[in-house]
Amino acid sequence: MAEPLTKSNTSGICVIAEVEHQTLHPVTLELLGKAVDLAKKLPGPISCLIYGHDVASLGQWALSFGAQQVLVLDHRELAAFRTDIMASVLHEAIHDLKPAVVLIGATPIGRSLAPRLAGLLETGLTADCTELDISDHGDLIQRRPAWGGNIMADIVTQNHRPQMASVRPKIFTPIPEIANPNGSIRRFALDPDLLLSGINVLSRTEEPMTTSISDASRIVVAGLGVADETGLELVHALAKRLNAAVAYTRPLIERGIGNYTHQIGLSGRTVAPDLLVACGVSGSVQFAAGMGKSKHIIAINSDPDAEIFTLAHVGVVGDCYSVIPQWIDALDQGDYHV
């Protein structure tokens, strides 16, 4: 392999694109948006690596959303998801681009690819960052809930390059589309040896679209404060009246109250609905990591000092078992359309 990547031979930010249904996954555009922001403090180009099969046309799109250079890794062998060869070709391409920072979406695919790539690059990787910034020394500050505890951590990759971070969808915002972007698109010549995979994909089927909690525009969340039968009934009734989906904090999932696809938070789903109602939820950092970008947050909690009130736009200090029925009543009596 070529010379190792160091502080002195790397610059700029590279976003690894994810292609879904022959289009760029929204998280790619969100990461490019953040890259544009970070580039104000970090010299060097914003590049985008697009890998897959028949993906060359997507390069233009990446340019329209902030990339200045696009490197396309296009090959039949890259059509289906195979971590081994994908990590190998990306490893090669990163040695070609020499970015100081590599950003990747923390989707199921990104989450299995990023650590393999970081392993090949023998560099640090911070998963599920909720904020990114550049320090005075020009290092990438990777902010995420600390390992356990109700506390946040700023993490840096001091001496290794590139500095890698993964970010969930819906954390950052894309820039408005640029009408006539200038920038370059280059095809990367792939070494056939790197395309020899130990994996042979037999079939790929899309599961019938289950309504994912991440797509819901309104969500009512049940926390430990409403984890009994009556409480859960109230939460479901409120959700029905508000036309909202029901989601849970982790302790409820651990008790088997809901399926883990309905867990919000660091180890669950990230959501950014128009309305999120948190019932009996304390508002831990891990929970907040999955819902902080919600547009309107209403929290009902009996503890006036609960952390959730620092996240909510509207906080109700009170007992869910009395506030929820009153809320439903008011909605029913006044004949409201929600």
Partner: protein
Amino acid sequence: MKIVVCIKQVPATQEVQIDPITGTMKRQGMDAKMNPYDLIALEQAFQLKEKVGGSVTVISMGPTQADAVLREALAMGADQAILVSDRAFGGSDVLATARTLAMTLRKVGSDADLFIFGHQTTDGDTAQVGPAVAALLDIPQASLVRSIDNHDSFIEIEQKLGSLIQRATIKKPCLITVDPHELTPRLPSYWRLRTLTSDAVQLLGLADLDASAKTKVGILGSPTRVLRIFPPQRSTKSVVLDGKASDIGQQLVEDLIQAHLAERVIHG
């Protein structure tokens, strides 16, 4: 078929403490349990062994107390257990952990067909160690696997990548991480647990793996550093309503209307 499962001991409660100096978790004197995702990985391994024969080896990297989760795995039916423990491993981040495990697997797993990892841990929560180990061992890997069939030189798997279900064959040896699907782990046998001898768990330290790797493991071998930890800073711009107010229901409805999330139905 020789199967190796890597498991981890995690805090039993959510209330963990952070060392303000290193930014890592304080593990001393804390109730601990096996990472729940690893229980699913173990169950997957036992079911495979029951189907095709062979053995299940469990490996854990951690402090000496992590011995407990290995004993639990033995009592569940594992054939061999190895604890990888050394002061030099303290403060490991993902890369340093992956290096330590890769060294271990090269030593004790050179004849293994399959390495199984849990999807993620409940304390670190990154889902990164398994894929990083596969990269270092230069073997193929698949994440979020929910079924495994054994063949001569490969395994056939099904993985759930978001809404995509992918079926694939993977050449042995290979590494998989297990999708947290519904699979009820078996209970440890009390009788087995009681009859385990004091040397049931084999202990490996840095010197047994590669004494020269000292700067590649632990805090020295970790590229990432915790710069600082701090309580979450949040804005308190919220409107606070009194839940005891008699018109609290109506106040909440008014708020929805103001936020354009509800509207009055006008009749006539």
